[in-house]
Each structure stands twice: as C-alpha cells, then as structure tokens.
Amino acid sequence: MGKNFKIGVIMILFLAIIVFAGPLIAPYDPNDVNMSIRLQGVTSAHIMGTDQLGRDLFSRLVYATGTSVKISLVVVIVSMVIGFVFGSTAAFLGGAVDEFLMRIIDVFMAFPTKIFTIAIAGILGASAFNITLALIITSWAVYARMVRGCVLTAKEMPFIDAATALGANRFYTIIKHVLPSVFQPLSTFAFQRIAHTMMAIVGLSFIGLGVQPPTPELGAMISESKNFMSTAPHLFIFPGLLISYVVFSFNILDDSLRDYWDPRIKSELAL
C-alpha cells in the first residue's frame, strides 16, 4: 500500500472523529443566535468567526459535516441493501421474474438522476429525511444491476456446477461461494459512491431542496452565505473547503485501493 493509502486512512479517521464526536469538539451550540456579534471574522472566542446570526461558524461546521456525512452513509448503505436484495433475487430466480425486475431497473435508470431526485425531493417537501429517501429511490437501481451481474457471473463458474454434481446442497453452495464473490465488488462500489452521494446532498441542500435551516448542513450553509459573499467570504469558503476535504479523503483512498488491486505484476512481466 502506498503513501496515498496512508493519507486517505488518516484523513478518514480524522473525519470520523468530527462526525461521531462532533458535540464534544464544538465549543458552542450550533444554533446559539447572538446578533451583537454577527458576521465577525476570526477572533480568539470564535476561531472561524461568526455567521449572519452571530452563530459560531466552527461549531456549525462540525455539526454540518456530521449531517452531510451521516446522510451519505445512510443513503449508500440502504441503497446497497435494497440493490442487493433486488439484484440477487432477479439473478437467482431468473426467467420471467428476472425479465420483469430488469424492466423496473431500466425504468429507474431511464431518468436523469438529478432531475428525478429533485422531483421527488420537491414533491415530498424539503427535509433531511425526504432528501435521504429521494436519493435512495434514485440510486438503488445501479446497485441492483451490479449485483445481478456479479451473481450471474458467479453462478456460471464451473465450480458451482461441480460442487452440485458432487452432491453438495445447491442453496448452501450458493450462499458459501456466490455471495462472497458479490460482496467484494459491491463494497468497493459502495465505497466509491459515498463521495458521489455527498456531492449530491450538498448540491441539493445548496439549491434549497435538501436539509433546511437552521439545521447545520454544509451545502445549506453555503447557500445561506450567498448574500454575504463580499462582506464575509469566510462563510462560504470554510464549508466549501470542508466538503472538498471529505470528498477528497474518500477519493484518495478509493484511488489508492484501485491501484493496489490492479494486477500490476502481470503487466510488468508482459509475458
């Protein structure tokens, strides 16, 4: 494993502390309004300054990062589970069931994802819960298609037939051999999707369809800061830097893992 891998792991560990131990780190209540100190720059009491309502920016950022990352994780995990159940059902049952389930997947994938998400989020009404739901509805189909492909490939492997021919219980064989071969690509893929989902959430919150103020969320905070760009640029710069930090830490780890799994030695020999 290279240097990038280490950087990624350290960045994600640090992120995990922010996300899961946020209340311990934040010096103030993120929703404590104090109009007498609004739009302040960096001071000793407020290390990243204050926002348009005099709230401590650092505390808000800590909570906001937690909100964005937790929603991404929920979206990715739930979509992965739904996709897994749907995709493996289609692949195992095959025939008409598979055909029918595949058409459903096709339909879900026929929409441009963002438009679909925005439509659902809009109709359900903007809230943290609804944006989570909307993102799950629009992303599960990708996982389902992938799982189906993996299961079908694994089912075709000669050793499954061989094991069955030797008298092994077919169901047991599948649980033991097919499922693990799905798990590895699925988890890699899900990991890649975290950064992607994070971008979607901050984008939707930015346009006002995601998490609603006063709940701290990175995209929503940037949106709120738009009117103060010239007077208080720190209000949009800090949350943006944090988004980039989160997405980058997942990207760099994903990138180094991809390099690692690459069959490098084979290509070096070129025989």
């Binding site: 441009p112 963002k114 925005i118 439509a119 984008g203 930015f206 980058f248």
Partner: protein, 318 residues
C-alpha cells in the same frame, strides 16, 4: 444498421410507457393530494372540502388513476403538458426556453473541459509515472473533490467581487456565460483528465501498439495514429453521457448564477410543488435522455468498425 436502430426503438416502447407512468405517479408520493397542493397555491390558504371536491371533479381527479394517467398521456403526446401553477405559462414552452439556455451553458463548458483534459490526459498517459503525470493526477483528484457550485462562488468572489471584471449572475449580456462556463467546464475537466489518461494508458498496453512500434513508427505517430483513435471510443461514450446529463446536471451552478436553464427552472418548480411542471419536465427529460443515449450508442458504433449490428456486442476482440 437501420434494423439495429429499429430494434432499439421497439425495445424503448415499454420503457417509455413505464417511465411516463412513473412520471405521472410522482404526484402521489406527496403526503397531500394534488387538489390540496394546487388549491393551496391558488387561494393561499387551506381549501375547504367542498372546493376540493369541485376541483377533483373539474380536473378528473375523481377518476381512477389509470384513466387520469391515460388522459394526461394523451394530451402529452399532443404537446399539451398543462400550465404552470405559479405563472400559468405552458409547460412545454418553459421547457423549450430553458432547454436552450441549458444547452448553451452545458455544451460550451463541456467543450472547454475537453480542450483542457485531452492534452493533459494524453500527455499524462504518454509519460506515465513521470513528474508531470503525478502532478496531473493529484491535480485532478483534488479538483474532483470540489463541488462545481462552490468553484463558481470562488470564481465570482475573485472575478466579480475582488477584481470587478465580470458579472456575477444573470442572462443579459454575452459576458454572463463566462463564469458559469468556467465553473462547469473546470469541474468536468478534472474527471475527464483521469478518464483520458486511463483510456490512453489501456490502449498503449495493447498488442497493436507494439506492432506499430515494431513497424518503425515514432512515438508521436503511434500516439496520434494508433492510440488516440482507439482511446477515443470510451472517451466519446463518457462525454456523450455527460452531455445527456445537461438536463439537471448543472442545477447547482445554474441556481448559483441565476442562469435560466432547465435545472434552475426545475428546482424552483420542485420547491414550489408545481405539479404540472414537475410531471412534464420529468417526462420530457426522460424522453430526451433515452433518445440521447440511443444516439450515443449509434455514434460509438460508427467509431468502432468491429461492432456489428446483427450480433450486438458479440465479436469484440482486441
């Protein structure tokens, strides 16, 4: 070729029907009924039960869902997608108007992305693991982590607020397009650099590149005549898919710059729960998306003489 397209179109029919049904049914995801939503916006207050009943009867909402859907679809096919609840304009007209604005922004920004990414990606692959390659990989990895709308804000901050050179938002002068185009174009270029690099690198490892070398071609000739053309196939596919995402793909940037594109318009409608607009836009964008994907497939097949139309994906050696 014709047969291939025909078969693809035939296959699209059930997808289109299901898609339109889903688009129509979106309304029923809402916790309140269409009548409530619409009357609320009309009278700006809670409607009475009597008003709701009248409304349902007038607009056919008391009919079974399938019949409602059928009449909506019948009108949709004739180009009548209803009127917006907020300003009473025709949904189709709104779509066409904002489609144009979106297309201007998106096509110019993707062109910019290509102009940036192609040379960097190709050179990066050509000099794999060199210092240039390392820097460009790090640069694109960092760039991919920056949200496009935030990049737009940084550009506005520098060019509009600090330097006062360019307008920060609007759609009135030709200068307006510069900043959103830069934001979107730069944003797309980062991942495109990586894609170009990987595609070219993959081709460079293939046997016919070795043959080209054995023939006595120079490295430059190998790159231009053999590697690029083949690497272009996946690149065109991805750029094509990017282009189809222009409906909604730029929503945050459009909102940021008050660009009257589809994303911006649609996000507003969704925020206002403007039901006819939501249904119409979802349907139109899905139809557009489906056909755009078909066109990309056809272009890719043109680029790659190996793919034969009778036996889809069958023979794909090399």
């Amino acid at each position: 070729m014709i047969r291939y397209i025909f078969r693809r179109l035939l296959y699209l029919i059930p997808v289109l029907i299901l898609t339109s049904f889903l688009a129509y049914m979106l309304v029923y995801l809402s916790p309140s009924s269409p009548a409530q939503i619409i009357l609320q916006s009309r009278y700006s207050g809670d409607p009475t039960q009597e008003q709701i009943n009248d409304f349902n009867q007038e607009y056919g909402f008391d009919q079974p869902i399938l019949i409602q859907y059928a009449s909506w679809l019948k009108n949709a096919v004739r180009g009548d997608l209803g009127k917006s609840l907020s300003d009473g304009s025709e949904v189709l007209d709104d779509f066409i108007y904002s489609f144009k604005a979106s297309a201007e922004l998106y096509f110019s920004s993707q062109l910019l992305a290509l102009i940036i990414a192609l040379p960097i990606g190709v050179y990066s692959a050509f000099k794999a693991n060199s210092i240039f390659d390392r820097i460009s990989r790090a640069y694109s990895l960092v760039g991919m982590s920056i949200p496009d709308f935030w990049l737009g804000m940084l550009l506005v901050y520098v060019f509009s607020i600090v330097l006062n050179l360019l307008p920060s938002f609007g759609y009135t002068s030709p200068q307006n397009i510069i900043l959103p185009m830069l934001a979107l174009g730069l944003s797309s270029s980062f991942s495109l650099i990586r894609l170009v690099r990987t595609s070219v690198l993959e081709v460079l490892h293939l046997n016919y590149i070795r043959t080209a070398r054995s023939k006595g071609l120079s490295e430059g000739q190998i790159m231009m005549k053999h590697a690029l053309r083949n690497a272009l196939i996946p690149i065109v596919t991805v750029v094509g898919i990017h282009l189809t995402h222009f409906i909604g793909g730029a929503v945050a940037v459009e909102t940021m710059f008050a660009w009257p594109g589809l994303g911006n318009f649609f996000a507003k409608a969704a925020g206002n729960q403007d039901i006819p607009v939501i249904q119409g836009f979802v349907l139109l964008s899905a139809v557009f998306f489906i056909f755009a994907n078909l066109i990309i497939d056809i272009i890719c097949k043109q680029l790659d003489p190996r793919i034969d139309y009778q036996n889809e994906g069958g023979k794909n050696n090399g």
